[in-house]
């Protein structure tokens, strides 16, 4: 009896070996992130937290992302209103534009788009900063000076992203709805009062909780992935570049995958 692999070309074992190695690396990566998550949560719970470092991260992650969030949210709101109006006009129900725009934004678009945009900006920054510290031995210097890099570097950044993502989502919701208002008034000739009343009547507490609630998890994941990739960087400037790219890609994919599962969960919960 011949086995299946006997008839494969000579390069076939390499494919198996490569696949096995990739799977092993992926598992190690997930294991490493889980370990860092455990240590970070433990350090947060145990305290004491360094308030000044956390406030600095609030500023770096939240305040400095305001302009990017405002611009993207305004245009997302405007484009959403334009596209929705195009469809609604066919059925003669363009007055429902406030309902459609606000619900789409609050439940899905604002949290996800904001997390992707800010996640890219902030995540790349965190990985590049920690990665540079790693390759220039600054992380080792911290450890040599009997200081925990997790407590000093990871905890403030993860708290920063976890708290600031929901805050920025609130801003994004508001600005996106204003973007829809601009199109509703300028293009569809609805009154601002009608549009806003429609928004207020439509958006319920559970819509806000579902949309904003998801971003706590997105923020935590993005902060953790960015920090982990930074701390495992090797190989100089080239390595920092690779880690930063990895953060942006893995961060975005994670947000989208988590979004699916969290949406299912929140639909059951609310």
């Amino acid at each position: 009896m011949t086995s299946i692999t006997e008839n494969l070309p000579a390069s076939a074992p390499n494919v198996f070996v490569r696949t096995r190695d990739r799977a092993s690396r992926a598992l190690q990566y997930v294991g490493g992130i889980s370990e860092l998550a455990g240590q970070t949560i433990r350090d947060i719970v145990r305290g004491p937290l360094e308030t000044s470092l956390i406030v600095t991260q609030f500023e770096a992650i939240g305040v400095r992302s305001l302009s990017i969030v405002a611009i993207t949210s305004l245009f997302i709101g405007m484009v959403l209103a334009l596209q929705t109006a195009y469809s609604l006009e066919e059925f003669g129900v363009k007055m429902f534009i406030g309902k459609v725009v606000s619900l789409s934004l609050v439940r899905e678009l604002a949290p996800v788009m904001m997390s992707l945009m800010v996640g890219g900006r902030v995540g790349a920054g965190i990985t590049a900063e920690l990665g540079t510290m790693k390759v220039t031995e600054q992380i080792d210097a911290l450890r040599a000076l009997a200081t925990s890099p997790i407590k000093k570097l990871v905890v403030p950044r993860v708290i920063g992203t976890t708290i600031m993502f929901p805050v920025l989502t609130i801003v994004s919701n508001f600005v996106g709805i204003v973007g829809g208002l601009v199109i509703a008034v300028a293009n569809l000739h609805l009154t601002a009062n009608w549009y806003l009343r429609s928004v207020i009547d439509t958006v319920k507490y559970n819509d806000l909780a579902s949309g904003i609630g998801k971003t706590f998890f997105f923020g935590f994941a993005v902060g953790l992935i960015s920090a982990y990739n930074g701390l495992r960087t090797t190989g100089g400037a080239d390595g920092v570049g690779r880690s930063t790219t990895q953060t942006v890609v893995i961060g975005a994919i994670t947000v989208l995958i988590m979004d699916f599962f969290l949406t299912k969960l929140f639909l059951l919960a609310f």
Binding site: T136, E137, Q138, D140, A141, R143, A144, L145, T147, S148
Partner: protein
């Protein structure tokens, strides 16, 4: 493997104030330490004792595991097998949080200085004091000034690391590593990449600190001139083991051909004029 203990009569140390402080009590001890990175085996059963009060120079070629040895002493790396003992305490299996207590006994000068580039010189040196002491800001400022004077860099408190030359970075790194008054200082390639005059200043600084702070030191280098300027004993790391350990003055006539070849090649290289000079 040859190990010549410091009390061996054939190799009686020079009569210097530093040498007289050297004892036979080991501060750090490696017992059969193995360490691999992937398929590369770096340490293969390394044994070493660093005695309290001495300046031990670890010599060896590039990639021989000299820096890895220092990292094991600090607990920055754990061995795959074997034990690392610090002041009679086995630190091999200590968790990271326990190691912080052990690391306070050490000061380490990294090859690049490893200054925190988001902080000024003052903040870099003040960092360990703010982390581990209850000192007031006034006391911290005094301590920072004192250490900066010790490394001959007074008045540089407000500079950022990016404004410093390579030699200055190493000196600030040194000031930071001694600010908590450690019992042992580890120097990773302290003179690499420096011009000869700056390198000599760093060597003098190491000797000066040794006499002023009464510490134990381990210097990792492949700069032979630096090794002979500062060291009491040499540990020659070759193929993952300490092939020869003994006093500086016995090294040239050592019964170890690898060490003799290494010293000969290093001295020839040091004596050769560089292209820039010709």
């Amino acid at each position: 493997m040859t190990i010549i203990e410091p009390t061996d009569r054939r190799n009686e140390p020079r009569e210097s104030p530093d040498r007289r402080r050297m004892t036979r009590e080991p501060f750090v001890e490696f017992q059969d330490v193995y360490k691999s990175y992937g398929l590369k085996q770096v340490l293969r059963g390394a044994n070493l004792k660093v005695f309290r009060g001495e300046v031990m120079v670890i010599l060896g070629g590039s990639g021989s595991g000299k820096s890895v040895t220092l990292r094991h002493m600090l607990g920055l790396e754990a061995p795959d097998a074997g034990r690392v003992i610090v002041e009679e305490e086995d630190i091999t299996d200590l968790p990271e949080e326990e190691l912080y207590r052990v690391r306070k006994k050490f000061g380490m000068l990294f090859q690049s200085g490893a200054l925190f580039d988001s902080m000024t010189v003052f903040e870099n040196i003040a960092f360990p004091l703010r982390e581990h002491t209850e000192m007031s800001e006034g006391e911290i400022a005094r301590a920072v000034r004192e250490k900066l004077e010790l490394v001959n860099l007074p008045g540089t408190e407000n500079l950022m690391p990016v404004d410093l030359s390579g030699g200055m970075k190493k000196r600030v790194g040194l000031a930071r590593s001694i600010v908590l008054d450690p019992k042992m200082i580890l120097y990773d390639e302290p003179t690499t990449g420096l011009d000869p005059i700056t390198a000599q200043k760093i060597n003098e600084l190491i000797i000066d600190l040794q006499s002023k702070l009464n510490v134990t030191s381990v210097v990792v280098t492949h700069d032979i001139q630096s090794a002979f300027s500062v060291g009491d004993r040499i540990a020659f790391l070759n193929r993952g083991v300490f092939d020869w350990v003994g006093p500086m003055e016995a090294a040239r006539d050592a019964d170890n051909s690898n060490l003799r070849d290494f010293l000969k090649a290093s001295m020839v290289t040091a004596a050769q004029p560089t292209h820039a000079q010709t």
